[in-house]
C-alpha cells in the first residue's frame, strides 16, 4: 500500500484541506469586495462570519439539514449586516466603530450561546455528503480533492463568475463603483447611494454568514467560541488586494488555504520547521509581491466615508 507524503490519499487530503480552509475566505472575501466597492469598509465581517457559523451549526444540528444550516448561516450574517446598514449607511455612524462593535458583540453572544447550549455536550455533525461532478471527479488527485466536495463549494466558485459578470456587464456593477468612487455622482444620477450601499452591505452579510456556516458545518463539523480566529480580517485584506476583481479573491483565498496545507505537509513529512515560521509564509508572500510590484492603491475614493446628500 502506498502511504505517506506522496500517496494519492495524502495529496488529495492536502488539496481538499486547502479548499476547506479557502472557501470561507473566498465567500467572505467576495462579500467584502462588494461592500468595499460600494464604499463601505465592513470591519464587522469577522462578527458576521461568527454569527453565521453559530446560526448555521445550531440549525444544522437541530434540523439535521445542512441546507437549512446554510440558510440560517446566511440569515445570521444578514442580521448583523442589517445593523451595520442601519447604523453606518442609513445613519452614517463611523464604520470602524460599528464594525468592531459588531465583531466584539458577535464574539460575546455566540460564546454565551455556546456556553448555554453546547458546552456540556459538544455536539458534532455527521459526515458531509459530497456531490461528485461526473467526469471531473475522476481526474486523478485533483478530481477527488476539487470535484467531490459539498455543493456549497461549487456555489462559492460559481459566485466568482456571477460577480465578475455583475461588475462588468450590469448596472449593478456601475452603481457599486459609483457609490464607492464618487457617491455624489451616483446620487445626482438619480440612484440612491443609501440603497446601493445598503444592498451591498446586506450581500456582504449573507456571504460572510455562508462562509462562517461553511467553516462550522463542513470545515469543523462543530461550533466552538471564537472559531473564526481572524478569518474575517484576512478576507478584508484579500478584498483589498484583489482591487475589485473577484478572480483575485479566489486566487488569494486558495493561496492562504494552500499555505495551511503546506504546514501540515511539511510536518507530516517530518520536516522540522517551527509552525510560527510556516504561518508567516502567506503574509510574507503578500509583502514580497507588494514590494516587488509596488502596486498603487486603488481603493474606492469614498471608502469608509458616510454619504450625506448636499453636505460639503
Amino acid at each position: 500500500m502506498s502511504q505517506g507524503l506522496l500517496s494519492d490519499a495524502f495529496l488529495i487530503s492536502l488539496i481538499a484541506g486547502a479548499v476547506a480552509a479557502g472557501i470561507p475566505l473566498l465567500l467572505a472575501g467576495l462579500g467584502e469586495q462588494v461592500s468595499e466597492k460600494a464604499g463601505v469598509l465592513n470591519i464587522g465581517i469577522e462578527g458576521m462570519m461568527l454569527f453565521g457559523a453559530y446560526a448555521g451549526f445550531a440549525t444544522a444540528f437541530g434540523t439535521g439539514s445542512l441546507w437549512l444550516g446554510f440558510l440560517a448561516g446566511a440569515a445570521g450574517g444578514l442580521v448583523l449586516a442589517l445593523l451595520m446598514a442601519l447604523f453606518c449607511v442609513r445613519l452614517g455612524l463611523n464604520q470602524i466603530v460599528i464594525g468592531i462593535a459588531l465583531t466584539l458583540g458577535a464574539d460575546g453572544i455566540t460564546a454565551l450561546l455556546h456556553h448555554v447550549q453546547f458546552s456540556r455536550t459538544y455536539p458534532r455533525l455527521p459526515r458531509v455528503e459530497t456531490l461528485d461532478i461526473p467526469g471531473l471527479s475522476e481526474i486523478p488527485i485533483l478530481g477527488p480533492s476539487l470535484f467531490a466536495r459539498h455543493p456549497m463549494v461549487y456555489v462559492a466558485l460559481f459566485s466568482v463568475l456571477v460577480l465578475t459578470w455583475l461588475f462588468r456587464k450590469t448596472h449593478v456593477g456601475l452603481n457599486l463603483q459609483a457609490a464607492g468612487d464618487k457617491p455624489d455622482a451616483l446620487d445626482a444620477a438619480g440612484i440612491s447611494v443609501v440603497s446601493t450601499r445598503t444592498w451591498s452591505v446586506l450581500f456582504t452579510g449573507v456571504m460572510a454568514g455562508l462562509g462562517g456556516a461553511y467553516m462550522a458545518m463542513i470545515g469543523a463539523g462543530i461550533f466552538v467560541p471564537f472559531m473564526t480566529g481572524g478569518a474575517g480580517f484576512i478576507a478584508i485584506v484579500l478584498a483589498m488586494l484583489a482591487r475589485g476583481r473577484p478572480l483575485w479573491v479566489l486566487i488569494g483565498a486558495f493561496l492562504f488555504g494552500a499555505s495551511l496545507s503546506l504546514t501540515t505537509a511539511l510536518q507530516v513529512g517530518g520536516v522540522n520547521v517551527p509552525t510560527d515560521v510556516v504561518q508567516m509564509l502567506p503574509f510574507l508572500m503578500v509583502m514580497i509581491v507588494l514590494v516587488l510590484f509596488a502596486r498603487r492603491a486603488s481603493l474606492p475614493a469614498a471608502l469608509g466615508l458616510p454619504y450625506v446628500r448636499g453636505q460639503r
Binding site: 455612524l93 463611523n94 468592531i100 458583540g105 454565551l112 483589498m240 510560527d276 509583502m287 507588494l290 481603493l299
Partner: protein, 361 residues
C-alpha cells in the same frame, strides 16, 4: 419651556446657558452608557443574572475599591500610549492598523534586553534606554509600509495588517528560539525582577507607566492641535494633494508619521513589560488594537477624550471580570456590554451632530 423662550433666556443669563451646556454635555456622556446598561440588563435577565448586582460589582470593583482602582489605572497605561499612537496616524490620514505587531515585537525586545542590561547598567538608566530601543523597534517595523505608502502609493491598510501578522509570528519565533529562558520549560523570556521594574507611585501598585502614558497623550494632543508640525501632518491627512501643492515633503512626512505612531506603539509594549509583566510568554498577544481603535474614533482623535474613554474601558474590564464571576456568568458577557456601549456612544455622537446642525441660526 419652549425652545424660543429658552433661547430668549439664554441671551439674558449667560450663567444659565453655561449650566445648560454642561447639562447637555453630561447627558450626552451618560445617555449612551445608560442605554447600553439598559439593553445589557435585559440580556442579563435573559441569562438569569441580576443586572443590579452585576453593575454594582463593576463599579465597586473597577472604580470604588482602592485595589480595583489601582488596577484600573494600571491598565490604562498601554492603552493611552496606543491611543496616542493612533491619534498621530489617524489625524495624518494614515491607517496604521499594525499596532499589535509593533507593540508585541517591541515588548519582546524589551523583555529580552532589560534583564540582561540590569546586570551591567544601573536600573534608572536601563528603563529609559529600553523604552527608547522599543520605540525604535516599533518604528522600524513600520518602515516598510511607510516607504511603500510614501513613495509607491501602496495601500497601508494592507501592508500594516500584513506586517502586524508577521510581527506577531516573529515575536513568537524570537521567544521560542533566541530569547527563550532556558531555566523554564514554558517558552518565555527571562524575567525582569520586580524590583527592577518601573517604579511604583506612592506605595500603590500603580507604576510610572501610566504617568508616561498620560504625559505622552497630552503631548501628542498638543502637538497635533497647536504646533506647525502637527498642522502639517493634519494637512497630509486632510488633503495630500494640497500638501504637495503647498510644498510639503509628503513622503518624508508620511514616514515621520509612521515612525512616530509605531514608535509610540512600541513604547506601549515597553511600558507594559517594564511596568507590569517583566517577561513575555510565547503566544501572548493582548490584541489591544481592536479595543483601542474604536475608542480613538469615538474620541474623534482628541487626546483628552481618549483619556476619558480609556479610563472608562479599563473600569469596565477590571470590574466586569469580577461582576461576571460573582454572577456565575462567563466573562464573554463583557464583550457584549462593550459592543453595546460602542454602538450607543456612536449613536449619541450622531444625535449630537444632528442637534448642532439643527441649532443653526
Amino acid at each position: 419651556m419652549t425652545q424660543a423662550a429658552m433661547s430668549q433666556e439664554e441671551r439674558h443669563h449667560p450663567v444659565a446657558s453655561a449650566w445648560r451646556r454642561w447639562a447637555v454635555a453630561v447627558a450626552a456622556a451618560l445617555l449612551p452608557i445608560v442605554l447600553a446598561l439598559g439593553v445589557g440588563a435585559l440580556i442579563l435577565l435573559a441569562l438569569g443574572a441580576d443586572p443590579g448586582a452585576f453593575y454594582y460589582h463593576i463599579v465597586k470593583r473597577g472604580l470604588l475599591s482602592w485595589i480595583g482602582l489601582q488596577d484600573t489605572i494600571t491598565r490604562c497605561a498601554p492603552l493611552l500610549l496606543l491611543g496616542a499612537s493612533l491619534i498621530v496616524a489617524f489625524r495624518a490620514g494614515l491607517w496604521n492598523l499594525g499596532i499589535d505587531g509593533q507593540f508585541l515585537l517591541a515588548a519582546v525586545i524589551s523583555a529580552a534586553l532589560a534583564p540582561v542590561l540590569v546586570t551591567v547598567l544601573p536600573v534608572w538608566l536601563v528603563l529609559p534606554l529600553v523604552m527608547v530601543v522599543a520605540m525604535a523597534v516599533g518604528a522600524l517595523w513600520s518602515l516598510l509600509p511607510a516607504l511603500l505608502k510614501a513613495y509607491h502609493g501602496v495601500n497601508e491598510i494592507v501592508t500594516t495588517l500584513m506586517m502586524s501578522f508577521l510581527g506577531i509570528s516573529a515575536a513568537n519565533v524570537l521567544i521560542k528560539l533566541p530569547f527563550d529562558d532556558p531555566t523554564t520549560t514554558v517558552p518565555q523570556t527571562a524575567t525582569l525582577a520586580t524590583d527592577d521594574r518601573l517604579p511604583r507611585l506612592f506605595g500603590s501598585t500603580i507604576n510610572v507607566g501610566v504617568a508616561v502614558g498620560l504625559a505622552v497623550i497630552l503631548f501628542i494632543h498638543w502637538l497635533m492641535t497647536r504646533t506647525a508640525f502637527g498642522l502639517r501632518l493634519r494637512l497630509v491627512g486632510a488633503n495630500p494633494r494640497a500638501a504637495v501643492h503647498v510644498g510639503l515633503p509628503l513622503g518624508a512626512l508620511m514616514v515621520a508619521v509612521f515612525a512616530l505612531s509605531a514608535g509610540l506603539a512600541g513604547l506601549a509594549g515597553a511600558v507594559e513589560i517594564l511596568g507590569v509583566w517583566g517577561n513575555v510568554r510565547a503566544d501572548w498577544n493582548p490584541a489591544y488594537g481592536l479595543m483601542i481603535i474604536p475608542l480613538v474614533f469615538l474620541a474623534r482623535f482628541n487626546g483628552i477624550a481618549v483619556i476619558g474613554f480609556v479610563f472608562f474601558f479599563a473600569v469596565l474590564s477590571i470590574g466586569g471580570e469580577t461582576a461576571s464571576r460573582k454572577a456565575g456568568l462567563p466573562n464573554y458577557f463583557i464583550l457584549v456590554l462593550v459592543a453595546l456601549m460602542l454602538i450607543f456612544l456612536a449613536l449619541t455622537e450622531w444625535l449630537g451632530q444632528r442637534r448642532q446642525m439643527a441649532a443653526r441660526d
